[in-house]
């Protein structure tokens, strides 16, 4: 175990704990955007900037990626730190002014919509949570970043229909800005996949990854419960009885 000091409070944590985790343990709030406790720390958004004491004065690090070492002294709310957080939110607000998470964060930090920058109106802020979730949680790696620099965006390969997406919606769940949309199309309705075919419900469309799925119906209750392709893929990986996915979870129980 190691002991570190955050905002004057001593905290004892296991070795390898990040500053963010240690702060959360003590109830100190550090804002984050690209962080998710179930995913590998990324350190991209820089919103969790904190000030740590080093050999030559203090330095700014991202709390989510910095592993604490014994005796570390951390400040999470200095003027320097707050200015950085405000700056990050200002920059991102001009990217995605309509994102609720950014509006809330702006309010909490006292940031007003910056007038100098023309709004981009792109909800994806390249935090990469969907990319990591698809790789680390789902194990599919259907999407990744495309391009670099300002053009960087989460996308399916070649910006075309994803061949690997199984329509599980994990990416939708982790996306902080609501940039990823999943539409469930009801029976009797029709909808079009971006750049693709028109599907009849029951179906599911992942707009960002330009892919649509036919939904499997439960043989007992008749309700659509999961994309057929997803069930096929799961059956390939996990050995299950052939008829396992004939019924939905509710009816199986």
């Amino acid at each position: 175990m190691i002991t570190i000091t955050i905002d004057g409070k001593a905290v004892t944590v296991p070795e390898g704990t990040t500053i963010l985790e240690a702060a959360q343990q003590t109830g100190i709030w550090i804002p984050t955007l690209c962080h998710h406790e179930s995913l590998t720390p990324y350190g991209g958004c820089r919103l969790c900037a904190v000030e740590v004491a080093g050999d030559n004065g203090t330095q700014i690090v991202s709390a989510c990626t910095f592993a604490a070492v014994n005796g570390l002294v951390v400040e999470t709310a200095t003027e320097r730190v707050l200015n950085i957080r405000k700056f990050i939110i200002e920059l991102l607000l001009a990217e995605a002014p309509q994102a609720k998470v950014l509006q809330d964060m702006a309010q909490a930090l006292g940031v007003v919509q910056p007038q100098r920058f023309t709004p981009r109106n792109e909800l994806c802020i390249a935090c990469g949570q969907c990319v990591r979730a698809c790789r680390e949680i789902v194990g599919v790696s259907a999407v990744d970043f495309a391009n670099r620099g300002y053009e960087r965006i989460a996308a399916a390969p070649f910006f075309q229909r994803s061949e690997d997406c199984i329509g599980c919606g994990t990416c939708v769940a982790v996306c902080p800005t609501g940039a990823i949309t999943m539409r469930d199309i009801a029976e009797g309705e029709k909808a079009t996949v971006p750049d693709g075919e028109t599907l009849e419900g029951p179906a599911r469309i992942m707009d960002n990854w330009k892919v649509g799925f036919k939904m499997k119906r439960c043989t007992k209750c008749g309700e659509p419960f999961a994309p057929e392709f997803q069930l096929e893929q799961i059956s390939k990986k996990v050995s299950l009885p052939d008829d396992f996915f004939d019924v939905c979870r509710q009816c199986r129980m």
Partner: protein, 158 residues
């Protein structure tokens, strides 16, 4: 994809083990065989080496040297290094774009004879401004000299 292309991918893939370590080198080999990275080739490589297609695309769109589209017969690279910039390399690139009637400031001409690229420092700063046509580097370029070289390649076609 033609069966001959499939064969050449197979020959390339033979030199690689599964896993991501040699991904860039593999993609460089594919590009030198095809002139760009065809989606089908990457799909095949992904299947055989157990690498997701999304990783290929991420890497291909990250690095400057990978082409995801077929290229023109000749590639004209106008150097945009600092030494070239202070010697008005911008004007050279714009002149070539005008000559090739490109829509943007880079791209491939409609007859597929030329692809114009602006590139980062070619390391021939002593000869600035520099224009590279295919593998040949031309130094101390002017708009007039660039036009002459362009016409040379056009003539060679005929």
């Amino acid at each position: 994809m033609k069966s001959s292309s499939k064969a050449s991918i197979a020959a390339i893939l033979k030199q690689y083990d599964s896993g991501q370590d040699s991904l860039i080198s593999l993609m460089q080999d594919i590009q030198s065989a095809f002139g760009y990275l065809p989606k089908e080739a990457l799909q095949q490589a992904g299947r055989e080496l157990d690498i997701p297609l999304s990783k290929f695309f991420a890497v291909a769109s990250f690095y400057n040297s990978f082409n995801l589209e077929p290229q023109g017969k000749h590639t004209i690279s106008v150097c945009e290094g600092t030494a070239c910039h202070v010697k008005n390399a911008d004007n050279l690139a714009q002149m070539v774009a005008r000559e090739l009637e490109l829509n943007g400031d880079e791209g491939t001409s409609t007859d597929r004879q030329f692809t114009l690229k602006k590139v980062r420092c070619l390391g021939c700063c002593s000869m600035a401004p520099v224009v590279k046509v295919n593998d040949d580097i031309h130094g101390s370029m002017t708009q007039t000299k660039t036009a002459t070289i362009l016409n040379q390649y056009r003539k060679d076609k005929k």
